[in-house]
């Protein structure tokens, strides 16, 4: 077996009669960055939420390293500690300062002391240029700052895998770059990531592998150069053509 951090086999997920994922197979190696692209509703977000066990799956199996996390009786809280997720809408805790947002899980889940958790969080915040915001409440921050805090909050748990769910889609255009730069830095640091994104230029730059989703399936996957320059599948071509026509690539 190779050194895959996450391996998904035959994943099916439907909401009522709406089949969102119909047989997803995907394995992600350690230090690999995989970008999921595809139209809205193609299942990118649902796939990420399934990996993090935020959505129960209907069929298939998901492994984190060697452990099947979709097996009966698995402690979901223990699994989620190892998988960070950053949401499109940030989902920061509005009643807590930036520092408390970041340290809550290390203190309550990993049982770190407040002093230890504060020290680690402050280091992370410094690294991402947020040290002066540590005592502010989320609603005093710009969208870009909030999203960077959300990333730091996920990183504070030292996850083996980071899932990014369209993390720039709710941002004003001029704030997108600051968040993408953080993600670039993480990729350079070797973080294993699965990134659902509409930012094609970013996906092309950062991804080791790009997966194109359509109708709940991975239609095509490959290195960014292959997918963006010479897509094999007509549907991929169609999708990319629309993006190019919109001036987004």
């Amino acid at each position: 077996m190779t050194d895959s951090v996450v391996r998904i086999e035959g994943l099916h997920k439907s909401f009522g009669r709406n089949d969102v994922l119909v047989g997803i197979d995907l394995a992600v190696e350690r230090h690999e960055v995989v970008c999921l692209i595809g139209a809205s509703g193609s299942g990118k977000s649902t796939l990420l939420r399934c990996i993090n066990l935020l959505e129960p799956i209907d069929a298939g199996r998901i492994f984190i390293e060697a452990e099947e996390i979709t097996a009966q009786g698995v402690d979901v809280d223990r699994i989620r500690r190892r998988i960070g997720i950053v949401f499109q809408a940030f989902n920061l805790f509005p009643h807590m300062s930036v520092l408390d947002n970041v340290t809550l899980a290390p203190r309550k889940v990993l049982k770190r002391s407040r002093a230890d958790a504060d020290r680690a969080a402050t280091e992370l915040l410094e690294r991402f240029g947020l040290a002066d915001k540590r005592l502010d409440y989320p609603d005093r921050l710009s969208g870009g700052q909030q999203q960077r805090v959300a990333i730091v909050r996920a990183l504070a748990m030292e996850p083996d895998l980071l899932l990014l769910d369209e993390v720039t889609s709710a941002l004003d255009p001029e704030l997108v770059a600051e968040v993408l730069n953080v993600v670039r830095e993480l990729a350079a640091g070797g973080m294993t990531m699965i990134i659902a994104t509409h930012e094609m230029g970013f996906a092309r730059d950062i991804a080791h592998r790009v997966c194109f989703l359509d109708g709940g399936r991975i239609i095509e996957e490959g290195r960014p150069a292959e997918i963006f320059r010479a897509p094999r599948e007509p549907r991929t071509r169609q999708f990319l053509q629309r993006i190019i026509d919109a001036g987004r690539l």
């Binding site: 935020l54 989620r80 960070g84 805790f93 809550l104 889940v109 005093r140």
Partner: protein
């Protein structure tokens, strides 16, 4: 005329007379405030003066005045009434602490999902249904007379004890619903964020959902707290000598209702600051959350401001 009403000659389809150019005269903020205050004062004098005049000129006014507003009797009974109020204060302070704790537990029980917790959700639901349905006075009689009457050894027979138990049981049902509404008003994405960090369901509720929910429901909680304060007089029916019972004794002795007016005043003095405090809390929370944003709604403590 469709939606663009407001023109006075809407019905007449004749030629529209040329109107004077619209000039907006800007009033300064001071001028604006002075004008608002003047209007408010004049309006108040007319309304309250009118109501007062109707009452004072009613045919039975002098009899009512004698029966309810006996100055010397008021002065004599007020110290006793205020003294007895200590019992009510003890009742509602002790009960309120128990109510907040029990109400929150009930709300959390009803908010925890999963089939394993069904019996708890079920019990909590039945509890709330029952204790909200039955009039508080009936429960006071049942527990105040019934429970001690069972004669179970070790079960307290103290009326004050059963008064606290009753108030706690009745008000916890209301308060748990307030908490639950607060919990359900927090967007599910907050729980998703908490759970995704590895917090358990209970930890998510305790550290993320409930603190936000509690902040939101402080005004309705204070509302219920004021209700509780007043309902402490109900326990006079099982023989706890508190403010209402004391006034009743005085009334029975003098055939004059003035002691009840003293009771009313005591409660007013107590609840008015609490009402203003609630308003202040709401305003502070609004300012904190929407700092810098344009504020809607009436300005100032009494909503005195521009239209």
């Amino acid at each position: 005329m469709g939606l663009s009403g407001g023109s006075r000659d809407a019905g007449a389809l004749g030629p529209v007379e040329p109107r004077e150019p619209l000039v907006v005269r800007r009033r300064g903020p001071r001028e604006e405030l002075a004008r608002s205050i003047t209007i408010a004062i004049v309006s108040s004098v007319v309304v309250f003066g009118g109501l007062g005049w109707i009452v004072v000129n009613s045919p039975g006014w002098s009899a009512v005045q004698d029966g309810f507003l006996d100055g010397p009797l008021f002065a004599r009974t007020l110290p006793d009434v205020v003294g007895a109020f200590r019992v009510n204060v003890q009742l509602f302070l002790i009960a309120e602490v128990l109510i907040l704790a029990f109400g929150l537990v009930l709300a959390m029980l009803r908010s925890l999902p999963g089939p394993a917790l069904f019996p708890f959700r079920f019990m909590a639901t039945i509890y709330v249904d029952v204790f909200r349905a039955i009039p508080g006075l009936v429960i006071i009689f049942a527990l105040g007379f019934g429970a001690p009457g069972l004669g179970i050894p070790g079960l307290p027979i103290d009326r004050f004890f059963w008064a606290i138990v009753t108030l706690t049981l009745v008000y916890s049902a209301y308060v748990s619903e307030v908490f639950r509404a607060g919990i359900e008003s927090i967007h599910p994405s907050q729980e998703a964020a908490a759970r995704s960090l590895g917090l358990s369901r209970f930890q998510a509720l305790r550290y993320v959902i409930v603190p936000q929910a509690t902040r939101r429901v402080i005004p309705p909680l204070l509302n219920d707290f004021i209700g509780l304060q007043k309902d402490t007089v109900l326990v006079s029916f099982i023989g706890v000598v508190e403010i209402f019972r004391t006034a009743q004794i005085r009334q029975a002795a003098t055939f004059n209702y003035t002691p009840y007016v003293a009771v009313a005043l005591v409660f007013l003095v107590l609840t008015l600051p609490l009402s203003r405090f609630t308003d202040w809390l709401v305003a502070r929370e609004r300012d904190r959350r929407y700092a810098g944003a344009v504020r809607a709604g009436p300005r100032g403590r009494f909503g005195l401001g521009s239209r």
